[in-house]
Each structure stands twice: as structure tokens, then as C-alpha cells.
Symmetry: C3
Subunit: 365 residues, 3 copies
């Protein structure tokens, strides 16, 4: 945290600008002229802090917070009489407002880097680096690559031949972007992620595996985030594609020729096999495992640790992980799972017997 | 893609050579003198493209393709009257033929690199680098290491002390091969993979964990492929071993002292705990998780997202992931799983009651 | 292995020192003056080897071993008459004794590195590097960072701004420690791990995701081990914390704001979502997947491949993975899982019918 203080009215106009006019807020009861230093949780906030109420469960905490001002929706405000007369920032989406205001207080998500190519970096002849970009020590930019305005290529990072790094892209230490791959503007690539490894394609032949050349690349959209040590493989012929605004967590693996839509969220440890399409605005829970060659409609949700073998045409929420249990119960139920067929047969047999009994019984005689 | 064109007869002789005589093909109806530029899917191919039919489901597409020539098996060819008189390449394995022919059209999978040690690379005294090898900027080769003929050590890659890198090995940017590890000829190591991290071995002592030294190394065979950010740990005493021709996808973890056979396929996100043996020609689906200290026979198959605790002596296909469901159904069935024991008991009780009823019923009286 | 030989009495005093007096051992029957070169398994050991018996299952092997001396507990020794008069090392914890003695025989886990900053390393102005530390070629230490005594920063590793690397820390090739992160003394960071990637935090807004700044860091305790390509994300406001003595395997992902206790073991491919607390001395099996915002009590155990959604207040062992089966059985049982509700309903109906039958039957009439 920077330690500086911010006038709430400035934060309001700043968030309005960052949201391109979509998230207005109104300061009331003197909030506009207050200065705050940071956000803090409702229960811990003091006079110099902003707090925000993002869900109705915390009404009680909001009523007694000591925060300098509270960011809140109109409906929750009117439900908390204790807040009458207190400085508030009223906005339809306090959580998003908090996110953008925090960005302002932290000096921006993607500030201008100190420009220049470190003498211990390697920029090969034929590469094009914008004069406002920063290339740090140990980084390598291969021939034919293009690095855009205000892009920031971190220590020991790698930009392959003919790769295109958009403006204001942030590549952290040790990030690798392979030949011919393209990274859209303002995308953040976290430490150690590898964009453009070879796709995994082999033809079986007499018990061996013949490599199929992988000559596509990877295209990552604008305003994306790719997690640490995540891998996205290059396509066999066409590119693997990640849409604009999609956020991908750490340790995710995306196979060749996948097409991930825009504004998706892929949580940590997700794996997606090759040639699968994920529509816009999908959310995949942590460690979800998605089969290859399937199509997930826009707006779908996959639960955590859920294997997805196929998908219908309707958007849906698909969940499937074995419920965890105490070790003792686990052993019993796991054994039972394997006897489900027997149980089903016994049940059917019993149904027949009962039917026969009823037919021959007193009421039937 | 290169843009160049290729005489089909040259491709046929090239594939025969690459397959070491094992995959012949015959050009018919003028195919031998046709020139093609690339492969394309049956439905999209034009006159300058080759297309191939790899499974019987696409007979219809093959009948109407506009490809310059079709690579096909004898039996499918005779089943498609529309292809009579069309230029074809007849071979027993069109998919493998496509793979090798594509390799030719792309200039080879592992072409000779431009040789030499970049002045910004670090080759320590006592390392041995073949004059035909290429060591790129930022790469490090430690003392005692050996880099073979035509090997290609990419940007910022690392070769540890006394490691041996075989001929024509391709190490992409940021690959790490630890001390004493050995990589066989023509093996491809994708970006960021780490061969030879320390094995995970600790002795419990009074609630703490005492490290057991890991002094083995990793031996990777010839003609392997290791995926981006995959990790293979060094053995405790002996080496962890990967057999010839085995293909390993991204984000795979292989624990210390594992012995993976030859010509296996390990899909993305697979994890194998320590000291497990996997026989030759096994296929492990994505995110399969294999227990330590077990042995999987040659030729076995593990389904995706399948936990493998143990294995019998027979080769088999082992599958086990909880079926994914709509969120609503998931909640119901997950609860039911935990009541399987109750259900079983109720079923048994009912069986007894029905038996008693039958004994005392009209037909029994 | 070093090839040198060691006097058993020296090993006994060495282990006593490494264990800070907690693991004594007694040499009997001439063991104290024997020299040994290494450990070997009971079945393979020869006269120059030590062997150890760590569990009662191997009594038979111990009885016939040809090892020069056997490390054994008093109770097993008295149960094996064949060992009477043989040189033995009697200690309450043979496995831990083996671990420490092996450390001695291998020259120590964290020996003093050859000190100095390689001229091809980058140490930015304002960084502080202890004169006993070693910074290898291609490594980068940013301004404000502190590198402690005998720390060893490997090839192409990265230490961010104001990061603190404790004494005797070992960072292998390509390890990345982000800005402001702290690594405790004697911690080992394996190849390619990334400490301090940005946390994964976004506020939803009109179908898009607004980044929440991640301004916390990561604090890793003393005597930890972090596996190859493992990732630990920085906190949103506060730090993500890993306690002393905790051992984390490869390919593990730990989300922002997690607090992992001391002396835990996290096996390979574990994933923990954000803001989860794991108490001291917990063990998480390979590929266990833990939900965010939950708390796991000290001493708990999670089985392999187990998804953990929530946890009660008691320490427990939680297990849950779908049992793997032959492909044929899998298809049947997976279908059955989805019919559990139907089965339960049929069972209930049957119970009613049997009840009615009993009421109206011979014994009831």
C-alpha cells in the first residue's frame, strides 16, 4: 500500500473513468470531501479506511463498522438504520467499485514502466521494440518479434520469433511466449507461464507414436490474465485462442486448438484437452478436467474437480466430484459403489417377489 | 507452413525412409506426379492439398472432397465408388502417413540448428559441447555436462553438472535439466519443463520431517517428448527412468524412482507418485492420478481423471471418475452416495421380511 | 554417493547433533568401530553397507541380511534371534536415523556454497548480498532484496524487489521469488517454482471481471521445501503464509491468502484455493483439491485425489475419490450413480408395500 490518501470524490470520478462510464457512485453525508488511505474489512476498518458491503449477510457488521465511509448499494443502505447520516458511497456494485478504487489507490494495475532495453537483455536483430517498452535483464526478444508501447518484459522472460506482444502487456520473470504467438493489449502473464509449447499430437503406428507437426500458434486476447506456470499449447494447424478479458489462474493446462471464449474464468489446476471450445462468460472451477473435442456453450459453469466428458447444447452448471468422507466411511461406500449393480438387481428381484406376494395374498384371494 | 510444394512420389519415398521401411504407400491414378503444398481437412481441402481418411465415419466427406489427392486405406477406397479414377495414395495407415508427410513438408521435426555457442550463453569450463550443437543466449551448461551433435539448447535453458544431452535433442526456452540427468537422442523438451528436481522423501520424526537425500538422477530415453512445465523428479538412490519413445504432455508430475516404460503416452496433468512402475505401451488419460509403489502392466490403459490405487497383474483398462451432473442432481446424488450403506441395510432387511412373508403366506400355508 | 567410508560411531554422534539431541543411538556388538560407505536395502546390503528395519513386515529380511550393520529398534531386535551377536545400531526411530545419517554421508543437505556473485549474474544496486552467499550466472537480484549468509541462488533464478532470502536457502535453476516475498532459513526451492505470482481476485461487473490489486506477498518459513514448478500466490492485502518445516511437492498450487501451518506435507499436484487455512502437521495426499475460505484443523489428513469442500472442527481423515474400475464396470456403475435416486424411491415404495402386506397377511389376520 502506498500510504497516500485519496479524496473520495476523486475516487468516484476515477472509477467512473476506469469503468468507461458504467459504474457511477454517489457520495452522501459528507463522504465526497473525506480523504481515505485504503480499504479495510468492515470489522477492522477505522476512520481513514473505506469499507464495502458486498453481500446482505454482513448487514450487522456494516451497522457497527468504524470505517470512514462505506461503499454500499441503495437497498442495503435503506435496510440499515444505523447508517443514517453516516458518510456513504452509494453504487449499484460495491465490489466492482472497490476493485477499481483499489486499482487507483495502488497506482494503477499497469503503470507506465521505466522504458528502455537493459544492456543485459537480448534483443535480436530484426525485433521491433517500442521506445516506451521496458525489456529487463536476461530477457530475450527474438528476431521478427514486436513489443508494443509500454509493454514490460520481465527478467529472464522470453519472446519468440515473430511473436507479437501488445501494448501495456506485463510479462513477469521467466514468462515464455513462443514463436508466432500473439498477446493482446493489457494482458498480464504471471511468472513462469509458457504460451506456445508444442501441441500434443501423435499418430499411433505399430505401437509407437509418430509426431504430428504443430505449426499453429497461440493467440491470447486483450485484458487477459494468465497464471503462474500455466501452459497453453500451440495449435496443430490453426491457433489455440483465448478470448478477450478471460482470466486464467495458476497451473492450468490448455491443449492445442482449444478456443476459449471471452470473459471466462478458469480457476487453478484446470485442464482442458485439445480442440475443445468454451463459450464466452463460462466459469470453470478449480481442477475441473475437460475432455477434448467438445463444446461448452457460453455462460456455462463447471464445478470444482469436475470431469467433463461431454456437454449438451443448453448452458448449464455441471458438477461431479465424489463426496469426501471419513476414511472409515469412504472404505465402506467405495466398496458399495462397486456393488451398485448387485443392489439394483436385488431390488428388482424383490419388486417381483412383492408383486407375486400381493397377487397371491389375502387381499388378492 | 512453408508455402513450398511437394511431389507426392517424393513424399511417399520420404515417409518410407522416415518409417524405416515400415510404411509403404502407392500412388494411383496420376497421384505420383501431382504437387501438393499441405494437408487440409477433407471438407476444406482444395486441389493443392492432400487430405486423408483416417476413420470409416468420414466416408461421405471423402466421397465429395475436392482435395488434390486422398491418402486412404485399400478397404475404404473400395467402399467409395466416387473415388474411382481420382488420384489417391493408398497406405495401410493414412494417419501415420499424414504425420510423417507433414514432418517432411514442415522441414523436419528436428532440423539441423545453426551451430555455435551464443556469446551471451554460459558454458562452464569442463563442459563438452559438440561443434554442431547450438547454445542460445542466456542458456547455461554446467561443468562436466555433455551436449551432443545437433542438439539445440534454447534461450535461458539450463543443463546441470555432468548432465548428458543426446544428439539432436531440442530444449526449448527455460527448460531445466538437473545435475547428472541424461536425455536421449532426438528427445524434445518443451518450455519450462524441469527434469531432475529433488525427489520428495522425508522420514517422520516427532511431528517433523527429516529430509532423505535424493542422490539419484533422471534418465529420459530417446525419441521422447516432455511437455511444457512438466516435472520429473530425481531418484532417491537409483534413477527415475522414462523409456524410449514415451510422450508426456504438459503439467505432468512424475515422482522419484518411477520407471515409465517405452512408447507410453501420458496426457496432460497426470500425476504419478514415487516408485511406481508403468510398463511399455501404456496410455494414461489426462489428469489420471497414480499411487506410489505400484506396478501397471505393459499395454494398460488408464481413463481420464482416474485415481489408480493399485493394479492386478493383468493388463486392463481402469477408469474411475464420478459422473458429472447438473448442479441439482449432483447435490441429490452426492447425498445419496453417503447413504449407500443405509440403502444396502434396508434392502437386506426387506429381503428377510419378504422371505418371511413368503414362508408364512397363502402359498406356504 | 561419495565413495568415502564412515565410522558408525561418528554417524551416531552426527545424527545426535543434527537431531539437536533428540535421536540417540547405541552401537552394539562391535558396530561402533565398523566403517560403512552407504545404506542399502536389507536384501541387497553387503558388508560395507548399513541397512535399516523400519517396519515389522521386514523381520524375515532383517534376519538374513548381509549388511555390515543394521539400524533397528529394541523391540524388533529382540524379536529376531538371528541377529544375536550381530553388529547393530539400536535407536527408537531407524527411518529418521537413516535419513540423518544419509545426509551426513552425502556431505550435508545444504553445504556451504562457493561464495561470490558470478559476473554474469545481475545484482541491482541497492540489493544486499551476504559475502558468504553464491549468486550464479543469469540469476537476478532486484533492488532492495536481501540475500542471507550461505544462500545459494542458482542459474537464471530471480529474486524480486525487497524480497528477503534467508540464510542457507537453496534456490535451484529458474526459481522465481517475487517482490516483497520472504523465504526462511534453510528452505529449499526446487527448479522452476514461482513464489509470489499475483493472486487470482476479480470482481464481476456486467459479465466482465475487474482485477482486484494483489498487494500482499508470500512468506515461506524456515526449513521448508517447495517442489519443482509449484506456485504460491501473493495475498490480496495480507501475505500468503507457509509455516516452518512444511514440505510441498511438485506442481502444487496455493492460492492467495492461504495460511498453511508448520510441519505439513503437501504431496504432488495438490491445489488449495484462496484464503484457506491448514493447521500444523496436516498431510494432504497427491492431487487433493481444497476449496477456498475453509479451515482444516491441525493434524488432519486428506486422502489422495480428494476434493475437500468443507471441514468440521474436529481433526479427521477425509477421503473421497471415485473407485477406479474396469472400463465395462465403470460404464455400468457410472450410469447407476445417476439412478441412485430412482433406486432409493423404489426401495421406499417396496418398504411400504411389504409393510402393508405384513399388516394384511396371515399372521396379521
Amino acid at each position: 500500500m502506498s500510504g497516500a490518501s485519496y479524496l473520495i470524490s476523486d475516487l468516484i470520478s476515477g472509477v467512473l473513468e476506469l469503468s468507461r462510464g458504467r459504474l457511477p457512485a454517489e457520495a452522501r453525508c459528507g463522504a465526497e470531501s473525506l480523504r481515505v488511505t485504503s480499504f479495510a474489512p468492515l470489522a477492522e476498518a477505522e476512520g481513514e479506511n473505506l469499507a464495502f458491503l458486498s453481500n446482505a449477510k454482513a448487514l450487522r457488521e456494516a451497522a457497527v463498522t468504524r470505517a470512514g465511509a462505506i461503499v454500499i448499494r441503495e437497498q442495503e443502505l435503506s435496510a440499515i438504520p444505523e447508517l443514517a447520516g453516516r458518510p456513504v458511497v452509494v453504487t449499484p456494485n460495491p465490489y466492482a467499485w472497490f476493485a477499481w478504487a483499489s486499482q487507483i489507490m495502488e497506482g494503477g494495475i499497469l503503470p507506465d514502466p521505466v522504458p528502455g532495453v537493459d544492456p543485459r537483455a537480448v534483443v535480436e536483430e530484426g525485433a521491433s521494440v517500442d521506445p516506451t517498452a521496458r525489456i529487463e535483464a536476461g530477457a530475450v526478444v527474438e528476431a521478427g518479434a514486436v513489443v508494443g508501447a509500454f509493454a514490460w518484459i520481465g527478467k529472464n522472460a522470453f519472446v519468440g520469433h515473430d511473436a507479437v506482444i501488445g501494448s501495456r502487456v506485463r510479462m513477469y520473470a521467466g514468462v515464455k511466449v513462443g514463436d508466432h504467438c500473439r498477446i493482446g493489449d493489457r494482458t498480464i502473464l504471471n511468472m513462469g507461464c509458457a504460451i506456445g509449447g508444442e501441441g500434443f499430437g501423435f499418430a499411433p503406428f505399430q505401437g509407437e507414436w509418430v509426431k504430428i507437426p504443430q505449426v499453429g500458434a497461440v493467440t491470447v486476447g486483450c485484458d487477459c490474465e494468465i497464471g503462474a506456470n500455466t501452459t497453453i499449447d500451440r495449435g496443430a494447424l490453426d491457433d489455440t485462442v483465448i478470448g478477450d478479458g478471460t482470466k486464467i489462474d495458476d497451473q492450468v493446462q490448455i491443449g492445442h486448438n482449444c478456443r476459449i471464449g471471452s470473459h471466462c474464468v478458469l480457476c487453478g489446476c484446470v485442464g482442458i484437452a485439445g480442440s475443445t471450445t468454451v463459450g464466452d462468460h463460462c466459469v470453470l472451477g478449480g481442477a475441473a478436467m475437460v475432455n477434448g473435442h467438445i463444446s461448452i456453450p457460453a455462460g456455462s459453469v463447471v464445478g470444482p474437480a469436475t470431469p467433463v466428458l461431454s456437454w449438451g447444447k443448453e448452458r448449464d452448471t455441471l458438477v461431479g466430484f465424489y463426496p469426501s468422507q471419513s476414511e472409515r466411511q469412504f472404505k465402506r461406500t467405495a466398496a458399495m459403489i462397486l456393488k451398485l449393480g448387485d443392489m439394483r438387481r436385488a431390488l428388482k428381484a424383490l419388486e417381483q417377489e412383492v408383486k407375486a406376494l400381493k397377487a397371491s395374498g389375502p387381499s388378492g384371494s
